[in-house]
Symmetry: C2
Subunit: 190 residues, 2 copies
DNA sequence: AAAGATAATGAATAAATATTCATTCACAAA
DNA sequence: TTTGTGAATGAATATTTATTCATTATCTTT
């Protein structure tokens, strides 16, 4: 039996990310995508019902992967600071290591292509971070600011850093990562 | 003489922003734009050579307006802290007051439509912020982190806050603005 | 108020792009 | 070697969207 597994699908995902990175949002044309993924245009339609389907599946796949990655090793019962550092470092590393995916998730957030169900699941995936920060407030370790605001500073910072790193504006060495952690923590700490 | 001034142009700009806000990046279709701006499709082409021209002029117009707005009253010779607070507050207020413009500037940054010259001018407009933070480092008031990183935290935070505020996730009252200033300053201060 | 000039219209056309499907290909079983 | 079957192709078609331009409307000048 031929291999109908995810090989081709993955190739399409990869190529789509590369194109979005290179050409931006508007650069994702099915014909170009086919060329980049080294297959015929029609082949894409064996794996995806439509462009919309492609975008949605790519989005949720990456969002899940991202969430899994930055929650790796996270134990809600461990001390707050341990959890904070773990998630922060995971989050930064995940984004730095996958700038194309990161940019995609940023760019397609609230695109007309995305189904509401997909956006809702995406929100669910981030919930543990909210819970951790709320716990931090209860334990008097974190500022008494709205959780959304705390999250905004952390995610906004990571997004901006990732973009900077990817564009070659700044190479994130280990020393710089430490500096970033200090900045992130100083921003939210009580 | 008929009024060929900026009335129609402004209407087109406004409608374009509204559409980008509502439908996202991909939702900017010339025919829909014409309807939204309450004019015929052809009329747009009396004011803009092409869609690309429209995007570029909208982008640079908004970027200039934004820079002018967040540098308003800024005196490079005033004490550091005064400059920092002024720019931060201006920047946050400017973005909160113009979430559509803010989102547009975010979304179209490095779109394939944007001319390099436009992007370059955009970078120039932000230069005073870099200079201020470098001075802060020299005066030992600001962390010894790369300036790009400091800027990343500040702009990333504002971008995320603006998006949050615009989507109704959090209303930025005066108290919350103070909290945000504290978070921003704690993040970069030495 | 007529003529001339400028602005606006929107249906028609051009251009770009998504999608289909008749055909070919690659492999496996007989 | 032949035949069957799912996978892949890519030119052809459908669809969507940008742009044009002949026509109409609106204003200005005399």
């Amino acid at each position: 039996m031929r291999n109908i597994d995810t090989d081709k699908e993955q190739a399409i995902f990869q190529a789509a990310l590369r194109l979005i990175q290179q050409e931006g949002f508007a650069g994702l044309k099915m014909s170009i995508l086919a060329k980049e993924a080294q297959m015929a245009a029609g082949t894409i339609y064996l794996y995806f019902k439509s462009k919309e389907d492609l975008i949605n599946r790519l989005y949720i796949t990456l969002k899940r992967r991202s969430a899994k990655s930055f929650l790796k090793g996270y134990d809600p019962k461990a001390p707050f600071m341990e959890g904070f550092e773990l998630i922060w470092q995971n989050f930064l590393d995940t984004n730095l290591a996958n700038p194309e995916e990161s940019a995609f998730l940023e760019q397609y957030y609230r695109s007309p292509y995305l189904d509401k169900t997909v956006q809702d699941e995406a929100d669910q995936l981030v919930a543990p971070v909210f819970e951790l920060l709320e716990r931090g407030k209860r334990e008097r370790l974190v500022k008494e600011a709205p959780t959304e605001m705390l999250v905004a500073q952390l995610t906004g910072f990571v997004a901006a850093l990732t973009q900077l790193h990817a564009s070659g504006g700044l190479t994130m060495t280990a020393a710089f990562k430490n500096a970033a952690l200090a900045m992130a923590w100083d921003g939210v700490k009580r």
